[in-house]
């Protein structure tokens, strides 16, 4: 993915995020996620039924990287089985930490491929993953 496309994806998802506006009604599980070292602070809610993620929403205040990563990740999660979601998260986290990952699986999330070049921003890209893990694992 070229630099310009990455930037566009991030901006597009920051300025017009997917499913911003937190749903909290029955069936949704809400988790807060924030970075201890900075000021990003988001709530994420997922609706999981029969082992499938039926819906995903979020809200809060966070930087362009965190917000866009949350938007892209949640959009990809909707419709996935819990195991598939876990696998996606694993690949995404591995990419951020410069480990091996499946490009075909990550698609738009490849926008954060080079984030390791700015180590202090890795936590921004990983912000949504933490809350999603917690919800999926029932913590």
């Amino acid at each position: 993915m070229n630099q310009e496309l990455k930037r566009q994806l991030i901006l597009e998802n920051y300025q017009h995020p997917f499913h911003r506006g937190l749903k909290k009604e029955a069936g949704y599980v809400v988790k807060n996620t924030n970075n201890e070292s900075c000021i990003d602070n988001l709530d994420i809610s997922l609706k999981v039924e029969d082992g499938i993620i039926k819906d995903a929403t979020f809200d809060g205040e966070a930087c362009a990287i965190s917000t866009s990563a949350t938007s892209i990740l949640l959009r990809k999660l909707v419709g996935l089985k819990v195991e598939e979601a876990e696998k996606l998260l694993q690949n995404y986290e591995s990419m951020i930490h410069e480990g091996p990952y499946d490009e075909a699986l990550l698609e738009e999330l490849l926008a954060y491929q080079d984030i390791y070049l700015q180590p202090n921003r890795k936590t921004c890209a990983l912000l949504p993953a933490k809350a999603v893990h917690e919800i999926l694992e029932g913590r």
């Binding site: 930037r7 900075c38 000021i39 990003d40 205040e61 966070a62 930087c63 362009a64």
Partner: protein, 398 residues
């Protein structure tokens, strides 16, 4: 002013985060090196020249601090590791034993976590009641709002001399006088004020004052608390150990040293105390009035220049002092700070450790620029220039 004295400026950085910490002049760095190189010894212990000299410098520093804040006695000056430790000692060492269930402590939601959190803990622990004085539209504390918030049950007023978020200079003299007349304890968090304006604990009837060396040209790792002698006599130490006891036995008979030693358990930050002494002498040579007006001029200059940039929203324009808080329209403050960093400009993004204030401010997070004596109009120009190109922000940071 005096830029040549500050080695960090040679990096070319434009340092506008003085609310977080200040730069250090050569005189301070040199005084600390001198200690390590020429009379490196513990204080109050050795019977040899280096130890005498170290003890002497350490106690001289106490006098320098005393004169700087206008205290009556040098025994009223206690060295700590910073404003946070000072505030904890005051709140848990004194107020915990002098307040009762139902007593009211007046403060504001703009107070720093280091003042607010210890009191919140005390609220849980002993049932005191925290009362927040409503802030003005510009989030400042007015004398009138203060007076309206006082009740029969008000026992303590605990506020910053200068707010670290909005930067307003609180009317300490009037509040202090009122407190004295009404038998209310007056605790001032001086972390942001002692560095920037003249402090006079006697004239302003301050019972307790806390501040940090690192925000006033001194090193990290040293702070001060001041307490009126009679209150210090009633205060309990939170730390026990060497240098603060007179004698003790295994039977549990303990007698403590008199103030100030009672509150300085263990080996203190000797080099840092000496550095702080030199920092204060440096500030005094320039004059706090000169520093204060220099910062205000820079703020006014920034406000003038920023008028031509409609995308910048300033939240504290009418507040005096050297702090500006703003946002670039539709840009998260942290992204703005990261953008400015690409121009070598250091600013702070966030809620500035006053998390309770988000209940009052129209926005949760802002960019904060805080000036100090070495900042210049040329630096403001560079900040304005960077802000003027903010339409390219995402090209720069992504």
């Amino acid at each position: 002013m005096h830029r040549e004295d500050f080695p960090f400026l040679k990096t070319g950085a434009i340092y506008l985060d003085n609310g977080a910490t200040s730069l250090k002049p050569n005189a301070v760095l040199k005084s600390m090196m001198d200690y390590y190189e020429k009379y490196c010894a513990n204080i109050h212990r050795g019977d040899y020249q280096a130890s005498y000299q170290a003890s002497d410098m350490y106690e001289k520093a106490r006098e320098v601090v005393q004169n700087f804040i206008g205290a009556e006695k040098k025994e009223e000056i206690i060295f700590t590791k910073g404003a946070t430790q000072s505030l904890n000692q005051i709140i848990f060492g004194f107020f915990k034993n002098h307040l009762q269930e139902g007593d009211e402590v007046l403060l504001t939601k703009a107070e720093h976590a280091s003042l607010l959190l210890p009191f919140l803990m005390l609220e849980k622990e002993i049932g005191i009641h925290l009362v927040y004085i409503p802030l003005s539209k510009e989030h400042t504390l007015t004398l009138e709002a203060f007076q309206n918030a006082v009740t029969e049950k008000t026992k303590v007023v605990a506020i910053a001399g200068v707010s670290n978020v909005v930067g307003d200079h609180r009317p300490l003299h009037e509040i202090g006088t009122f407190c004295k007349e009404h038998n209310i304890f007056f605790l001032v968090d001086g972390a942001q004020s002692v560095a920037h304006v003249t402090t006079d604990v006697v004239k302003d009837s301050i019972d307790f004052l806390a501040f940090s060396g690192h925000k006033m040209l001194g090193p990290t790792g040293v702070g001060v608390f001041y307490g009126k002698e009679k209150w210090l006599e009633e205060m309990e130490p939170l730390e026990y150990g060497g240098d603060m006891n007179q004698s003790f036995s295994s039977l549990g008979e303990v007698s403590l040293k008199s103030i100030p030693a009672r509150f300085e358990a263990g080996t203190p930050p000797i080099a840092e105390v000496i550095g702080l002494k030199n920092a204060i002498e440096y500030l005094e040579k320039i004059g706090m009035d000169v520093i204060q007006s220099h910062e205000e001029n820079l703020k006014q200059y920034f406000l003038e220049q920023v008028k031509s940039l409609p995308q910048i929203e300033v939240y504290n324009a009418s507040v005096s002092g050297g702090t500006v808080i703003f946002n670039i329209k539709d840009v998260f403050s942290q992204d703005a700070a990261i953008y400015l960093d690409r121009f070598g400009i250091c600013v702070r993004a966030g809620n500035h450790c006053a998390k309770a204030l988000k209940e009052e401010l129209p926005v949760q997070n802002t960019v904060r620029v805080s000036f100090y004596l070495y900042n210049t109009k040329e630096e403001v120009d560079k900040l304005i220039e960077a802000l003027s190109k903010s339409d390219t922000l995402y090209d720069v940071i992504l």
